[in-house]
Structures are given as structure tokens and as C-alpha cells.
């Protein structure tokens, strides 16, 4: 390959990112939350039905946080729901790949409890979720986005699946909707529920949780999900209005 003289090539043998040798913040220092309380979520913007090629799609963006995109297609196989969850390479500066194992399983189980697959015995649903930016709590957002995309595609479900995340720091206080720094130093919980039915469809909890803290964290997550629900309903409504124009004055 011809050498490009305008580029400065890196050293031949492997070099590591300078970020690894940078001075890290001392552990144990409390990461202060700026601008919101411990049980407040960041503002969320939701759009359904933005991909014209897909049967259903959704996009969820958190203010100053993660961005997730999902599309649903009909496949050619037997009656099952096939989920694919990916983090884009550019989604986060550090590779948290080991922490992400099991995300696809949580997605699959959360959606399986909600989608009425018995109504589609001979159709295969292909669901693809892409996390474009990871700023903490992207996994539950991805599940919410996926459920919204399924609803947008008109697939029968018992209820929408809404997800929330919480974390518990070393001091014991429980924070809802953690940022990436908060997630890394504490124990995490991801909870997905079906708000109308008040049923838990997915739960994943890692790290140390002492005493009654898992119960408190679950209650906090459920409240967060309930608050998110009307937003999702609104976005579905507006996207279906766009798809089907209102009947004109001359109805024949």
C-alpha cells in the first residue's frame, strides 16, 4: 500500500491508549449529581416510526445521556422473536464489553413476556437494537425502545415494556437513572416492567446489595417507569396520526 505522507503513523508494535495511564479519580470520592435529585430521571425524547423501510421503529434519546435506535422487520422463519442488541464501536470511550454480557438475554426475556407470539405462529420477528451512545442506563432504554418499535409495527402485546436503572453506591444511597461514572463505581440494577399490568418482566442486578436496598431500588425503578409511560403513549399516538391521515370532511 502506498504510504500516505500526510499522515503520521503510530509506532509499529502495539501502543495503548493514553487514557489508561491517565490519573484516575480516587475511588471512594462521591460523584456528585449536578442538577437533579437521587430519584429524578433525565429528560427523555421519544420518536416512533422514523424508519420508513422497517415494519416498526423507534428512537429514544436521553438529555445528556444515551441514544438508542431500534427497528423491527418480519423475517422468513418460524414463529419466534429474534433479538439482536449491539453497542456501536463509537458509543463509549472505554470498552465495557464484559459488563454487557447478558444484555441480549434480558432484552429477549423482557419482550417475550409482553409480546403475544402465539398470534403469529408462522412468522419470525427480527428485532435489531443499536445503542449509539452509552452514557449510563442504556440497556433499559434499549428495551423500552424495542417495545415501542414493536408497538409501532402493530404487533399485539399485553402492554408496553418500560425499563429503568438504579445504582447503589458504597455509601448506600440509591440513585435512579445513573450516569456512566455512577454506574461504574456502584452496584447496578436494571428493571423492566409492564406498567399497566404492574408486572415485572425483566430484572438484572449486579454488584453488592445489602439489607433491604434491592427492594427500595426496585420500588424506585418502578416509579420511574410509571413516569415514563405517558411519554411513550404520546409518541405512539403522534406516529400513528402521521401514518393514517384524519378523515376529511367529505367521507364517502
Amino acid at each position: 500500500m502506498p504510504v500516505d505522507s500526510r499522515r503520521v503513523r503510530g509506532p509499529e508494535d502495539g501502543s495503548q491508549s493514553p487514557a489508561l495511564y491517565a490519573e484516575k479519580e480516587k475511588e471512594g470520592e462521591k460523584v456528585l449529581r449536578v442538577g437533579r435529585g437521587p430519584s429524578e430521571q433525565r429528560a427523555v425524547c421519544v420518536r416512533a416510526g422514523l424508519l420508513s423501510q422497517a415494519a416498526g421503529s423507534a428512537y429514544v434519546e436521553v438529555a445528556g445521556g444515551s441514544k438508542v435506535m431500534c427497528g423491527v422487520w418480519w423475517g422468513g422463519g418460524e414463529g419466534r422473536l429474534h433479538c439482536d442488541l449491539r453497542w456501536a464501536r463509537f458509543s463509549s470511550p472505554s470498552t465495557g464489553s464484559q459488563r454487557r454480557g447478558g444484555g441480549a438475554l434480558l432484552l429477549q426475556q423482557s419482550l417475550e413476556s409482553a409480546v403475544r407470539m402465539e398470534r403469529y405462529p408462522r412468522a419470525e420477528l427480527m428485532l435489531s437494537v443499536l445503542v449509539m451512545e452509552e452514557r449510563g442506563a442504556a440497556l433499559p432504554m434499549a428495551i423500552t425502545c424495542a417495545a415501542l418499535a414493536l408497538a409501532d409495527a402493530g404487533i399485539e402485546m399485553y402492554d408496553l415494556v418500560v425499563g429503568a436503572a438504579a445504582c447503589r453506591g458504597k455509601t448506600g444511597e440509591i440513585l435512579l437513572d445513573p450516569t456512566e461514572e455512577e454506574e461504574e463505581i456502584s452496584a447496578n440494577m436494571y428493571l423492566t416492567i409492564m406498567p399497566n399490568l404492574s408486572q415485572v418482566s425483566g430484572l438484572l442486578c449486579t454488584g453488592e446489595w445489602e439489607g433491604d436496598s434491592p427492594v427500595e431500588a426496585m420500588k424506585l425503578c418502578m416509579e420511574g417507569c410509571q413516569r415514563l409511560y405517558p411519554l411513550l403513549q404520546q409518541s405512539l399516538l403522534s406516529s400513528s396520526k402521521k401514518k393514517v391521515p384524519p378523515p376529511g370532511p367529505e367521507a364517502s
Partner: protein, 291 residues
């Protein structure tokens, strides 16, 4: 996992039994089957154990090897898991059939051990940034009779208790070059502290109640289950809901409570059995699979 085909009548029978706190083999909802534990079964390893609960049989071997610490944690050693679902358990696991289940189980194990209190990783470090002990924990699933996760974690705890890592001396030359020397004495070794190692308790929801240590038939009747990983001090290290059904939040709270209670007594009895086995020392007859 090996699947079992149940008729509707059998499912109803199990369901009604569980409502009355009486399962098909006579246990109560919170009782385990008979657990057989034996350590030091394979001599090529640094530590090994075999656990048999009912028809579920798991063999774990721990091998300690020297490696380089991870870049973001230079002062600690690390642990690697590998789960092999052997074809012995069911013909479906032949070739690559058992890989999916194996990856699921090993992901779960990584999550459970991914915190400060489970294994003391700093004791595995020899020279920061250069040398450390890497513990390769290999799980071999020999027979599947329901309740895999509990059996695997009990076996891992027993194998870690049995692990004897040779002590290391770091010699420094005049030029500053460091040399590692392993002690030759087989008894001069380091033991791991297994107090923080968690054990999973699987609670399956059958009807309106939940059961601990489900057999294959009971697992076929339950739509959802919660796995709770608790260590000896009662701290929850991991929790996960599995299965296609959805659960009421109240029942999850109950299950967490039951899981903690059951795990506590499980840890206590496991520790006493391990201590007893060790106190027998050389006189202990190694049984392995021979009886």
C-alpha cells in the same frame, strides 16, 4: 437444558402439591435435595470439587497459572470461567449444541464474581503490572437434573476452598531484574478466603408460591424464576429474573427474602461439611465416582 415432557394432568398435580407445601418427592417448598460434596477429585488441578444434587452432577476444576494483570486493574489477579456442557448430560449437547447454555452460565458467573467481596483478587497479585495469578475455573456439567446454577456455585465454592496456590518468592538481582521462584514444597501454599464467595439460590414460581431447588419436572411447570446470589454475610451480589412469564413485584420481594434465608443456612452447612472433610486429612478415602 434437557427437557422433560409433562402432560397437563402432571402439571396440575405438581401445582396443587406446591400450594399445599408438599412437592412430589415429599419436600417442603424451601428444602433442598440431598447434596453430596467432595473435594480434591482430580489431581492435575490446583483445586477441584464435585457436587451432586439429586440427578444434577457438576465437576469443577481450578487451575492457577501465571499471567499479566489486566490493564485497568494492575494490582489484582483475575478469574476466568469456562463452562462445558458435556454430551454426557444429554445428546443435544453433542458438538456445539451445549455452547449456548455454556455461554449463558459463564456470563452469569462473571456477573456474580464481578465485585470486591467475592474473591480477594489483590491476594492473587505477585508484581503489580507484571505478574499475577490467573484462576481458570472450569465447570464440567455431567448430568442435568434441574437446578443447575445452585449446584455450579456450590461446586465453585468447594473447589476454591480446596485450591492451594503455591507461594511465590520474588528475587531481585543486582541489576533490578526480577525473577519469580515457586516454592517446591507442596504444602507451602496459599489458601483462598472463600467467605465472600456467593451461592446462587434459584426460586421457581409455580402457581402462587415459589420453590427452592426445582427438579426438571417442576422447572417445566414454572413460567418464571428468580436467581439470587447471596454470600455468607447476607449481601446480594447478583439477581436475575429468568423465564418467559412476568412476575408481580410483591412476589419478587418475597422471593428475595426467601433466597436470603435459604442461602444463609446453605452457606453454614456447606462450610461445616468442608471443614469436616478437611479435618479428616489423609485418612479420608477418595470416593470420586466409584460409589
Amino acid at each position: 437444558m434437557a427437557s422433560v415432557v409433562l402432560s397437563e394432568a402432571e402439571k396440575v398435580y405438581i401445582l396443587h402439591g406446591v400450594q399445599d407445601d408438599l412437592r412430589t418427592d415429599g419436600r417442603g417448598c424451601e428444602d433442598y435435595r440431598v447434596i453430596e460434596v467432595e473435594t480434591d477429585v482430580v489431581s492435575n488441578t490446583t483445586g477441584s470439587a464435585r457436587v451432586k444434587i439429586g440427578h444434577t452432577d457438576v465437576l469443577v476444576g481450578v487451575k492457577a497459572e501465571m499471567g499479566t494483570p489486566k490493564l485497568d486493574r494492575p494490582g489484582e489477579g483475575y478469574v476466568e470461567f469456562f463452562v462445558d456442557c458435556s454430551a454426557n448430560a444429554t445428546p443435544e449437547f453433542e458438538g456445539r449444541g451445549g455452547e449456548e447454555l455454556g455461554t449463558e452460565i459463564s456470563n452469569m458467573l462473571y456477573k456474580i464474581f464481578d465485585n470486591q467481596s467475592s474473591v480477594d483478587l489483590e491476594s492473587l497479585c505477585i508484581l503489580p503490572r507484571e505478574h499475577c495469578w490467573v484462576l481458570y475455573i472450569d465447570v464440567l456439567l455431567l448430568e442435568c437434573g434441574g437446578n443447575l446454577f445452585d449446584t455450579i456455585t456450590i461446586c465453585i465454592k468447594a473447589a476454591l476452598f480446596n485450591t492451594r496456590i503455591p507461594k511465590v518468592n520474588v528475587l531481585e538481582d543486582d541489576e533490578g531484574a526480577k525473577e519469580i521462584e515457586l516454592s517446591d514444597d507442596p504444602y507451602d501454599c496459599m489458601r483462598l478466603n472463600v467467605e465472600g464467595v456467593p451461592c446462587i439460590v434459584t426460586l421457581n414460581k409455580i402457581g402462587h408460591r415459589h420453590v427452592v431447588d426445582a427438579t426438571l419436572q417442576e422447572e417445566a411447570c414454572s413460567l418464571a424464576s428468580v436467581l439470587v446470589a447471596v454470600n455468607m454475610k447476607g449481601t446480594l451480589t447478583c439477581m436475575r429474573k429468568m423465564g418467559k412469564g412476568s412476575l408481580d413485584p410483591e412476589s419478587i420481594f418475597e422471593m428475595i427474602g426467601t433466597g436470603k434465608r435459604v442461602a444463609k443456612s446453605l452457606h453454614v452447612s456447606l462450610q461445616s461439611v468442608l471443614n469436616q472433610e478437611e479435618s479428616m486429612g489423609k485418612k479420608r478415602q477418595k470416593i470420586g465416582f466409584l460409589r
